[in-house]
Symmetry: C2
């Protein structure tokens, strides 16, 4: 297992990627504060390049690529957002990018990866197929694997969003992030414990892909078997690296129903007039489903992304 990133890795990443990323705004909403009884601060990574926080981690990984490795390119597997982010980041230093994607990924995500100039290789929508296809690509091309979350540079990059959130907001009682593979949550929890040790970090996860919840409470890694959630960015399972970080720095993991995710997503569109994807609505869903725990608290929320298939919205199904 690689060495875990530290607050210093995150601060270094922040300096390195600053010229390339958007410093996204922190928005507030009186309507949602009223609805939750909390003071919510939304770090809007839906406004990030490629429409998602993952551009931070991908850019940090690309900028840390060894010079001798650059000519063979980079490769990854991804349900879409990491693939798009890596494709866009790879352009910064003109390296070839190979992305293994499940055939059933949302069209908007396929188009983004393609539009950013990456080479897409489709696979079956199973972890096994993703991994074997990726292995083959790596063997054939000599590309460097940039894993979506089991990678220290990626985790350090993702942590820069929470770093900015803490810098741009007076003291927060709680910071919340969604959890899938755990890259964003790991980076967030290291950043927050590093710069604001009295702030607790709470993870939010779909009930239908609740490996982080079960692993956290069992004290051992329990991968999710058949994730089946609308939050397509959160269908992956923790890795040993992200689980180890999360056990140290995360206070609790809350799970939410599909209905709560859709409702929170819709509230955000209606009240805040911003487009967020289902995965990004999971923390707000957790606040709305556990109001008592958040009443009167100042709560930072990482709004992870805004890449939605507008032809297939959850409330129109």
């Amino acid at each position: 297992m690689p060495e875990e990133p530290t607050i210093d890795s995150i601060k270094r990443a922040a300096g390195l990627i600053a010229p390339h990323i958007h410093r996204t705004p922190v928005l507030t909403s009186r309507a949602l504060n009223k609805m939750t009884g909390a003071g919510l601060f939304f770090k809007c990574e839906n406004f990030q390049k490629a429409g998602v926080f993952k551009f931070r981690g991908a850019t940090n990984a690309i900028l840390n690529l060894k010079e001798e490795d650059a000519s063979s390119g980079v490769a990854t597997h991804s349900s879409g957002n990491h693939g798009a982010a890596l494709a866009l980041a790879a352009r910064l230093i003109n390296v070839t990018c190979y992305v293994v994607m499940p055939e059933n990924a949302p069209k908007v995500k396929k188009d983004a990866v393609d539009g950013y100039g990456a080479q897409i290789i489709f696979c079956e929508p199973t972890l096994a197929s993703r991994e074997s296809t990726l292995k083959e690509i790596l063997a054939r091309t000599g590309a460097t694997l940039i894993h979506p979350y089991d990678n220290c540079d990626v985790i350090a990059g993702q942590g820069t969003a929470a770093l900015e959130l803490c810098e741009d907001t007076r003291h927060l009682d709680i910071v919340m992030a969604p959890v899938g593979g755990g890259g964003l949550l790991s980076g967030t929890s290291i950043a927050v414990s590093g710069v604001s040790p009295t702030t607790i970090v709470i993870a939010a996860e779909p009930q239908r892909a609740d490996d982080a919840y079960r692993s956290f409470h069992a004290g051992k890694l329990i991968p999710v078997e058949k994730p089946d959630t609308i939050a397509d960015g959160l269908r992956t399972s923790l890795s040993p690296l992200t689980f180890s970080i999360i056990r140290k720095h995360v206070f609790d993991v809350l799970t939410v129903s599909e209905e709560a995710i859709v409702a929170a997503m819709r509230y955000t569109w209606e009240r805040m007039k911003i487009v967020i994807e289902p995965s990004a609505a999971v923390p707000l869903a957790a606040v709305l489903s556990n109001r008592g725990q958040f009443t009167g608290k100042r709560v930072g929320i990482i709004v992870s992304g805004g890449n939605v298939d507008l032809d297939n919205l959850p409330w129109s199904r």
Copy 2:
């Protein structure tokens, strides 16, 4: 015809309403700049209270209400946005608000007016029915009419959005606003010619409700007969007052197809990750439909509002 508002009326309005409104952000989008060849600056009134610029004009009218008139309340007719804005503004000084609305107004707009505590009176979806119903309410209650656009305080309030846009952006070549009844366009054109005389103002209007286009080019008021556009905020016709202002201060009126409106709305959601209503997409649609005219220009766009019925999106019909 009442005296026309001046740049000083708008500056006074800006000071008066400042404590009550959001100073909305000006956003940019590399993707949309690339798509249009222009430098676009979006003044995001979709983030305004009540989700629409109309809160500015309504607040200015409410704060200018004579003390002896306040106890009888205020009344208006509205396709929805002005009604909601007036209802919310009326709360600032606790006056009763009566809103005459067509039965076929979008549900989200009916709910907003109701949620802000106004009394709704439904009418047939014709101008004649709106006006007769309103007349009856005014006679019965003694309320003060706050017309959606044929009112100097309202126009001055609407102009404050363009004033802020000019303050927050380096010199613009063009400022664009959508035109329905002409309140926003009148206020915008007075503000821009007042603070930045070398900036031209261009109006954008749906082809299917093109009274401003026809009136502007004929040099006389030609009301629209059967407006039939998805841009529900722009179905109204100019008044003598707004027409007079527009003739003096507006450089041109461009019209756009329904398809162009839907495409521009969708681009904005997808690329900028913000929720805007069809009426608010009309200026961008005009830029996209007339690229040559805007190439290399710095173009401010008033994004008028974000109140959309999420159950009835134009690309799902």
